[in-house]
């Protein structure tokens, strides 16, 4: 089986500060993995290099066997890499349906059609509704996105990413800003989506319940360097990791 994502010796420095220090790892299809690390460990910077928003100083990013290092972000997305955001990034004035439908249209290469009314694109519309059903926002389909509660907006953010039927879904702190109940719901949702849509996921998280609850492989980033990778149990018991980061957070 070919890896979905392969990082080889990624390096990046800003001025004198090395933010990504020789990072290499592989993500196989169907994996659901987490990247954790204290603030400033370089997690989001790493994501940005994977998605093409930052060009690494050295090393490569392989996506589905293709070298995408330094490619323009939208080109990489068009190849099947999706991303949901820590700070919710949706289209506020459009309806909930429209938000997801645009992604579905984009996947089918129909987003730039200039003449037919958008509601006549049946396949994309059906796909969008299916996603809304899965994430539990179907009843809000006709509401403007800005009217949704914060937690629902985060779900919508994920829904948009799903519309692209991504081969790889990157989630940037999916439970940030949520109450414990909401977090549990989101955890269940992520697992359900992972199974339902056959996704390969990598997510950044600070909430350890989420990380150890759903990730199969956990990778720890510390000062830009990949400190450890393994199953949740292995990581939980790794002395270096405990020293660097976890402290009393793990129970």
């Amino acid at each position: 089986m070919e890896p979905v994502l392969e990082l080889k010796n990624l390096n990046k420095a800003f001025g004198g500060l090395r933010v990504t220090n020789d990072v290499s790892f592989t993500v196989m299809p169907g994996d659901i993995t987490a990247i954790i690390g204290p603030n400033g460990a370089g997690k989001t910077t790493l994501f940005n290099q994977i998605t093409g928003h930052l060009v690494p100083d050295a090393g490569s990013v392989f996506f589905r066997g293709e070298d995408v290092t330094g490619m323009a972000p939208q080109a990489i997305v068009a190849k099947g890499m999706g991303r949901a955001f820590q700070v919710t990034s949706i289209f506020p004035e459009e309806t909930v349906l429209e938000n997801v439908r645009m992604a579905c249209l984009a996947r089918r290469n129909e987003a730039r059609r200039p003449f037919r009314n958008i509601s006549t694109f049946k396949q994309a519309t059906d796909d969008a509704y299916a996603i809304l059903e899965s994430i539990g926002l179907a009843q809000h389909a006709q509401r403007a996105a800005y009217e949704l509660a914060h937690g629902d907006q985060k779900l919508l953010d994920i829904g948009i990413a799903l519309g692209l039927q991504p081969s790889l879904l990157l989630l940037d702190e999916p439970t940030s800003g949520m109450s414990p109940d909401e977090r549990q719901l989101t955890r269940d949702l992520i697992v359900r989506l992972w199974k339902e849509f056959n996704l390969t996921m990598v997510f950044i998280e600070h909430d350890m319940d989420t990380v150890f609850g759903i990730a199969q492989i956990v990778r720890v980033l510390h000062l830009g360097h990949l400190l450890a990778e393994g199953t949740p149990d292995e990581i939980r018991n790794n002395p270096e990791v405990i020293t660097a980061y976890l402290g009393e957070e793990v129970q």
């Binding site: 940005n48 928003h53 930052l54 060009v55």
Partner: protein, 295 residues
């Protein structure tokens, strides 16, 4: 084309560059500090010229006093405009667009007020006593007033540079992309600062207009070309770059001086050509560092 011709044009270009820089600096000051683009900046330039005309020609007051009065007048009017109107749209969604529209409406209103008060005929302003003649520098003869402008301009640049680099308000002004919330968090009285900075910026514009008035005729509608000239200066020099603006003004001023001498009919088009060429070959400006792609 002999040497003296070239030298005369070079100095003429310096004069133009000085005036361009004075105008452009006012515009970039308020944009850099307060994130406000004053589309009507050219109108304050024009008001400066008219105030100078009124005080010097009509009231026979000394030119240099008139210059100060004109600058203060433009500055005060600017502060009123900011306080009464511009302030109401801070923080709105799509603020940038509304700023342009509101300041655009200032242009329209000021244009007609000027027409109403002073009429549409060209007004002229005599050069100040003592600078009406010319000065000999070696083999070339230069108009004294033009030389004076260059000297004044240099003084202003030096003073501005000192203020910007040595004083606290100056350092705040220099930090780019500073937004109002951040200024407020730093303990700065934001509304007062905005009004003051706006006043200083429009005063600079008025100062440039008054200074330039003896060289050009004073007419309504001069505002827009001023904005475009300032834009071209910034395009050449790079946005947000103090010394870039200075070099941009220098380049544009020299190009314009030679163009006026060689192809007077098409001189104003030449400045646009410079802008287009810069946009094609080095869109980030001649003095900006080459950008690497970031988010």
């Amino acid at each position: 084309m002999d040497l003296s011709f070239i030298l005369v044009q070079l100095v003429s270009g310096l004069t133009m560059a000085t005036l361009l820089f004075l105008v452009a600096s006012g515009l970039t000051l308020i944009f850099g500090v307060g994130n406000v683009f004053n589309f009507a900046h050219g109108s304050f330039y024009m008001l400066g010229a008219y105030f100078a005309f009124q005080t010097v020609t009509a009231l026979q007051i000394n030119f240099w006093i008139g210059l100060v009065i004109a600058s203060l007048g433009a500055g005060l009017l600017g502060m009123c405009a900011e306080f009464l109107f511009l302030r109401r749209i801070y923080g709105r969604a799509e603020e940038g667009g509304f700023q342009i529209l509101l300041t655009y409406s200032f242009i329209l209103v000021i244009d007609d007020i000027v027409k109403f008060v002073w009429g549409t005929e060209y007004k002229s302003l005599l050069r100040p006593a003592g600078l009406r003649g010319s000065v000999e520098l070696g083999s070339i003869t230069l108009p004294s007033f033009n030389v004076a402008i260059i000297v004044i301009g240099l003084l202003v640049v030096v003073v501005a540079w000192l203020i910007l680099s040595r004083t606290r308000p100056g350092r705040i002004a220099r930090a780019t992309a500073l937004d109002r919330e951040m200024l407020s968090a730093m303990g700065v009285n934001v509304p007062l600062t905005m009004t003051l900075v706006f006043g200083i910026a429009t005063a600079l514009g008025g100062f440039a207009g008054a200074l330039a008035a003896p060289l050009r005729t004073v007419t309504p509608g001069a505002g827009i070309e001023v904005i475009i000239d300032s834009l071209i200066v910034v395009v050449i020099g790079g946005m947000g770059n103090f010394w870039g603006a200075w070099f941009g003004a220098l380049i544009l001023g020299e190009v314009m001086a030679f163009a006026v001498a060689i192809v007077p009919e098409w001189a104003s088009v030449v400045s646009y050509v410079v802008m287009v060429l810069t946009l094609i070959f080095k869109p980030e400006g001649l003095f900006a560092p080459r950008q690497t792609r970031t988010v």
